[in-house]
């Protein structure tokens, strides 16, 4: 129990450090907010100006924007550690590597949550989607989606951060793995927005939660191997 508590404290410290450096403008993960909004704007140009068509595609576009921006965000969060060889030093501490993973994933999770929370109203306004009714289900979807994306994103960011051509390799490796997450999140959001006429919302949320759990366990167990290089 105490070991677990110590691990949680370390993870919290790492996440807090990331938050502080973010607030001091060092990691620029929050810049991805503008990127996501820009992607949504460009989708509007690509599919508009028919608002009905945009509203129909809104769940998919929303999650694509979140995934693209999240890709940059998790990448940034790890890039922060390479500047002064910080990741190597972190790996030298006599602590469980899983705690480092949990800390970085927590920071990614919070970033993704902010991303989702800001992008939802943007989609509502720009694509003419009625959110008022659906917000409880949408929030659960965003929380589960953010958690899952951060779980795999943190792992792949940690993997690619020391690889040549990491800007290419991170999306190349991460995007195929997030396919089930994207699918489930889009379907859950669409069900939530349409008032769930087929009663499928619960199944998609369960799938999301299952993805989160499996990926947190597998990625958390594998992440330590990356640090020992």
């Amino acid at each position: 129990m105490t070991a677990l508590a110590a691990e949680a404290r370390i993870a919290w410290a790492i996440a807090r450090k990331d938050a502080v450096s973010e607030l001091r403008g060092r990691s620029a993960a929050s810049m991805t907010l503008f990127f996501a909004a820009l992607v949504l704007l460009l989708f509007g140009f690509a599919l508009g100006p028919d608002t009905r068509k945009l509203a129909e595609a809104a769940p998919g576009l929303l999650w694509l924007a979140i995934v693209f921006a999240g890709l940059l965000a998790v990448g940034r969060l790890h890039l922060l550690e390479t500047d002064d060889g910080a990741l190597e030093q972190l790996a030298l501490y006599p602590i469980d590597r899983r705690a480092i993973y949990v800390g970085k994933a927590l920071a990614g999770f919070v970033t993704m949550l902010v991303l989702g929370a800001v992008m939802l109203p943007v989609v509502g306004i720009m694509y003419g989607v009625e959110l008022a009714r659906a917000w409880p289900a949408l929030s659960v979807t965003v929380v589960l989606g953010a958690l899952g994306f951060s779980a795999v994103g943190t792992f792949y960011a940690g993997l690619t951060v020391r690889v040549r051509a990491r800007e290419v390799m991170l999306p190349l490796l991460l995007l195929p793995v997030t396919a089930p997450l994207l699918l489930a999140a889009v379907k859950a959001s669409a069900a939530a927005l349409s008032g769930d006429p087929f009663g499928e919302l619960g199944s998609w949320l369960q799938l999301l939660a299952g993805f989160d759990l499996v990926m947190l366990l597998v990625a958390g167990a594998s992440y330590g191997f990356l640090l020992e290089e």
């Binding site: 795999v152 792992f155 993997l159 690619t160 690889v163 040549r164 051509a165 390799m169 190349l172 490796l173 995007l175 195929p176 793995v177 396919a179 089930p180 699918l183 489930a184 379907k187 087929f198 499928e200 199944s203 998609w204 799938l207 299952g210 993805f211 499996v214 990926m215 597998v218 990625a219 594998s222 992440y223 191997f225 990356l226 020992e228 290089e229």
Partner: protein
């Protein structure tokens, strides 16, 4: 020598299975000759999944035992798996065009899963190519192979749901459309083809593994050669006083008490 015999045996079996599938088994009543693609298609998909399972297991083997031979097996599995995945998709599209009317069918969970499988393992191979150090490459590849292997069932499951939660599939699965009069012949042709490609797979795996080991040996030899020449060049120069060199490199020798490498920045 034994590998060579295996290779010729595999070649003969593949030829036999191809002849059997093409000329002995009658054409399918509904699908005509297009159905014959199924023998190769199913066999390729089987080999693809088999290869990726081997890659994942070999990755775990590397992480546990730290023996580079496991990594050679993982590489062989991933490369052969990618080729057969591409073959399976290609064969599936050739079959789907006359039977379904389209090359691509989003509602087919197997097709969509296989496409993602291809993307996952092409990424795996690219990652290997970008890592120079063999041990680091093995570790990175092992964890990526592990996460990919875990992801595949979830992908498959989610795509089945994707379709299943909407409406019943419009298209029957190929196994239900088999020739009703001669099912045994179809099954025999498929089994023969499965045996043939499995033998061919075994041969390819062994050869690729041997090649990977040779590559590793070459890499090691090159590294040793570099090391030796570096050592020789150091030995040629006059012995250097390390402490004097560090003091000379530091701007203020009086301050650099704890870390000697810091002034280098």
């Amino acid at each position: 020598m034994r590998t060579r015999i295996l290779g010729f045996g595999a070649l003969a079996t593949v030829a036999l299975a191809a002849m059997f599938g093409l000329f002995v088994v009658p054409a399918d009543l509904n699908q005509g000759d297009a159905q014959r693609i199924m023998y190769v298609h199913v066999a390729s998909a089987w080999i693809a999944y088999l290869s990726f399972i081997v890659t994942a297991l070999a990755g775990i083997g590397w992480l546990v035992r730290r023996d580079l031979r496991f990594d050679a097996v993982a590489l062989a599995g991933a490369e052969i798996g990618v080729i057969f995945t591409a073959l399976a998709i290609w064969g599936g599209m050739m079959w789907a065009r006359p039977v379904w009317g389209t090359f691509w069918q989003w509602e087919d969970p197997r097709l969509t899963t296989t496409a993602l499988l291809l993307a996952l393992y092409i990424g795996y191979l690219l990652l290997r190519r970008l890592s120079d150090d063999p041990r680091r490459r093995a570790t990175r590849a092992a964890v990526v192979g592990l996460v990919a292997a875990v992801d595949i069932p979830i992908v498959h499951f989610s795509v089945i749901w994707w379709r299943g939660l909407h409406q019943a599939p419009t298209f029957g699965s190929p196994d239900r459309l088999l020739h009703p009069a001669a099912p045994m012949q179809f099954v025999a042709a498929l089994l023969l083809m499965l045996l043939a490609v499995t033998l061919a797979w075994l041969y390819l795996m062994i050869r690729r593994y041997q090649l990977a080991r040779l590559e590793t040996l070459l890499e090691e030899a090159a590294r040793l050669g570099r090391l030796r020449s570096a050592r020789a060049s150091v030995a040629r120069t006059a012995p250097v006083d390390i402490t004097a060199a560090v003091d000379a490199a530091a701007p203020q020798p009086s301050r650099s008490t704890s870390s000697a490498e810091e002034p280098a920045r």
